[in-house]
């Protein structure tokens, strides 16, 4: 039983570092809770797909479709941009402004019902899609799910929300392809259609229809033309996302590990000695911040160069934006590492705390999976993380090809985070200043 003394010693040592002990239990619980909240649908409803809807047709059929889509539970439909409180309501989206909104990343999908669509809303037969203009589905190719959801919901809604139109169009195609109905059949059909129109004219009928579940597979009854408005010329749509997402997560780990040198120096007495020279605690922390910022930025450069060399990421066309976002991210990450190291008393504590906080930030902030897969509340929670702002900024640069001026929200937030975290770290580090 020679192993028992070893086990007992290890247990006693673990009990001495209570913070590490607590975190070793808190860590799995915290992660379980986060993943349950994101995927377990415990605190929120199923995430809605945001979609912009433009009705250029203004026909009876298009009105029915718009109304039905607005009542569709899985979609969050916007007809016009949200206006500030007290301001006059904004004008409805146009095809151009909807496309711009998708390009800017406001939504992943926009539907444009073109003029003339209502004349032949149902696409059927050999001339499918040519008899009338098709609905335009504009999408951001970085979101691989939303366009498919909206496309499917569009077909389902058409079938359940426009029964009269469907029947009329059905009769028309019957006449065209099989020679038409007898006068008695036509009279009977007309009578039923009148009845259907009365039902449809009643309030809430569209809502009732739209919520009816259609189990049949009606793919393609409405002609839809899918068009990627952003990312169509990109080599690989997710490379820039993952370069930023994974990069930021590991930057956080590196920064906290590197800042941990402070704890080593405090333990060895080197910190005391340094602080007895001309170096002040502020100077010391600033020096470490500067070094860790450069280290993090270099890591990002290496990661994006790797993306360029191996995955054909278009790195060299985005150098200015990369530098701006890279430095902003690096300084925020470095300040974060400084704060963690200042808060902890041992390397073991730092290891446990940094793992907890970084993995939480990375899962909520979109480093592990895109935030648009998450519920709205989780997406909002993500805004409290460095990851989310950094990823959004890099996405603007590499995916949306936006100019540097468009990065101001991300850069401002990251720099503000850096300043606040550094000042907090400086305050906590007073314990090293004097005895």
């Amino acid at each position: 039983m020679t192993f028992l003394p070893i086990a007992r010693t290890a247990l006693v040592a673990l009990r001495r570092d209570r913070a590490s002990l607590a975190l070793s239990f808190v860590l799995p619980i915290a992660f379980f809770s986060i993943f349950a909240a994101i995927f377990g649908n415990r605190h929120d409803t199923v995430p809605k797909v945001s979609v912009i809807l433009v009705d250029e047709d203004q026909s009876t059929a298009s009105h029915q479709l718009v109304k039905a889509l607005q009542h569709e539970g899985s979609l969050s439909v916007s007809m016009r941009p949200t206006s500030d409180k007290g301001a006059a309501p904004s004008a409805n989206y146009t095809a151009a402004s909807a496309e711009a909104a998708v390009k800017a990343g406001d939504v992943s999908v926009a539907l444009v019902i073109p003029r003339g669509w209502g004349d032949h809303p149902v696409a059927f037969g050999p001339d499918q899609g040519q008899a009338a203009p098709a609905i335009q589905l504009l999408y951001d190719a970085s979101d691989v799910i939303a366009p498919q959801v909206v496309g499917g919901m569009l077909q389902k809604t058409a079938m359940t929300a426009m029964p009269v139109t469907m029947a009329e169009q059905g009769m028309k195609y019957t006449g065209k392809y099989i020679g038409g109905l007898t006068p008695q059949q036509q009279a009977l059909m007309q009578s039923n259609l009148d009845q259907l129109r009365k039902i449809q004219a009643q309030p809430e009928s569209a809502a009732t229809a739209s919520t009816a579940s259609g189990s049949a597979d009606f793919g393609g009854i409405i002609a839809v033309q899918n068009r990627s408005v952003i990312g169509e010329n990109k080599n690989n749509n997710m490379i820039s996302f993952y370069a930023a997402a994974i990069g930021v997560m590991f930057l956080l780990f590196t920064a906290s590990g590197s800042s941990g040198a402070l704890l080593d120096e405090a333990e060895s007495g080197t910190l005391d000695r340094v602080l007895s020279s001309r170096i002040t605690i502020t100077g010391l922390l600033a020096g470490k911040l500067f070094f860790n910022t450069l280290l993090a930025f270099t890591q990002l450069v290496v990661m994006f160069l790797w993306g360029w060399a191996v995955f054909k990421l278009d790195f060299f066309s985005h150098i200015p934006g990369f530098i701006v976002m890279g430095l902003s991210t690096a300084v925020a990450v470095a300040a974060f590492g400084m704060l963690l190291a200042s808060l902890c008393h041992t390397r073991a504590q730092l290891g446990a705390l940094s793992t907890l906080v970084i993995l939480m930030m990375s899962s909520i902030g979109g480093s592990m999976f895109p935030r648009y897969y998450m519920s709205e509340s989780m997406q909002k929670a993500g805004l409290f993380t460095i990851n989310a702002w950094a990823i959004d900024g890099f996405t603007k640069v590499f995916w949306r090809d936006l100019p540097i001026s468009a990065l101001w929200p991300q850069v401002s937030v990251l720099l503000a985070i850096a300043i606040v975290l550094f000042l907090f770290a400086r305050r906590v580090a007073r314990r090293w200043e004097y005895a």
């Binding site: 060895s268 007495g269 080197t270 005391d272 000695r273 340094v274 602080l275 007895s276 020279s277 001309r278 170096i279 004097y434 005895a435």
Partner: protein
């Protein structure tokens, strides 16, 4: 002489400590320490572990803020930029960067004191030569022997050529050969006129290196003076008799106590005015049934002084 005149006259003293008090919770690490240091002097702070030596050193360096009292270095308050520049601190711990070479360590600490260019280059060369590390200058510190690390630790404290050097137990954990090498380094430093405070709990070190010795216990200086003066004050012309007996330790201790003696390193120790008193002591021991193994007569040392003043051994 007015107090202003006194202050002016002493303002250039390398070190002045006035009524220094520092408490850590319930523990009084410094309980009103006052101290003056003369230029070129080497003052030994002698005391057991936990006596308050390191707290005093750290207060001089400015790393401990006193609860009350004053510390000035060449007239500048401890911790001020002028005081920091004038001080060289060799901490008890190996406060050097293990992943840097010896030379890189010296360059780092030199730059922390604002050195650069040729002055820094010259200072590094002097430190390497002084610490006899020239041939290991480019080796990683973690690959150096314990003694070499100690010497580098000392050299890093002298890189900016301070006027006052504080050495906090620089020989802790080194073998006798390395210790001798460190003594030689300190003696070389003294020859160059450096003012030094040297803390230790080894009386031999204090006797060998220091002009004056301050004996520290429980946060106070309980005696201050030259080696000879301290012994003279405590013992006058008296000597110590150490007698070793065969027999139960309790019986030996009881007999020693009955003759105003004490037990030191398993021997019964007595202070006597004249060597003729030895015969009487031995007769008494024989009467008590103790069998003498050996007996010696010696002049008291600093350890005897400490024991005399505190009733405890220096290394308790």
């Amino acid at each position: 002489m007015s107090s202003a005149t006194i202050a002016a006259a002493t303002s250039t003293a390398p070190l002045q400590v006035v009524s220094l008090v520092k408490r850590f919770g319930q523990v009084t690490a410094a309980g009103g320490i006052s101290l003056d240091l003369q230029p070129g002097e080497c003052l030994g702070l002698l005391g057991p572990n936990g006596a308050g030596k390191s707290t005093l050193i750290r207060a001089i360096v400015g790393r401990v803020i006193p609860d009350s009292g004053q510390v000035t270095v060449f007239g500048a308050p401890a911790g001020s930029p002028a005081a920091r520049a004038a001080l060289g601190w060799v901490p008890q711990e190996l406060a050097i960067y293990p992943r840097l070479t010896a030379k890189e360590n010296l360059r780092a600490f030199g730059s922390y004191y604002g050195l650069s260019g040729k002055p820094l280059h010259d200072a590094i060369a002097w430190c390497l030569q002084w610490a006899a590390l020239e041939d290991r200058a480019n080796d990683l510190t973690r690959t150096l022997s314990g003694g070499m690390k100690r010497r580098l630790n000392m050299a890093a404290g002298l890189i900016h050529q301070p006027k006052l050097v504080l050495m906090d137990e620089p020989t802790v954990g080194v073998d006798p050969q390395s210790r001798n090498r460190i003594f030689e380094m300190i003696e070389a430093l003294r020859e160059q006129g450096a003012t030094i405070i040297y803390t230790t709990h080894y009386m031999e070190e204090a006797e060998r290196l220091c002009d004056r010795i301050a004996i520290v216990d429980h946060g106070r200086i309980i005696a201050l003076g030259t080696h000879q003066a301290l012994i003279q004050e405590s013992f006058g012309s008296r000597s110590e008799v150490l007698a070793r007996f065969d027999g139960p330790a309790e019986a030996i201790a009881a007999w020693a106590a009955s003759r105003s003696g004490r037990i030191v390193d398993s021997s019964a120790a007595f202070t006597i005015d004249h060597p003729t008193e030895i015969a009487g002591l031995l007769d008494s021991a024989a009467s008590a049934g103790l069998q003498l193994v050996d007996v010696s007569l010696r002049r008291p040392n600093l350890e005897s002084v400490f024991l005399h003043l505190t009733g405890r051994e220096l290394r308790d």
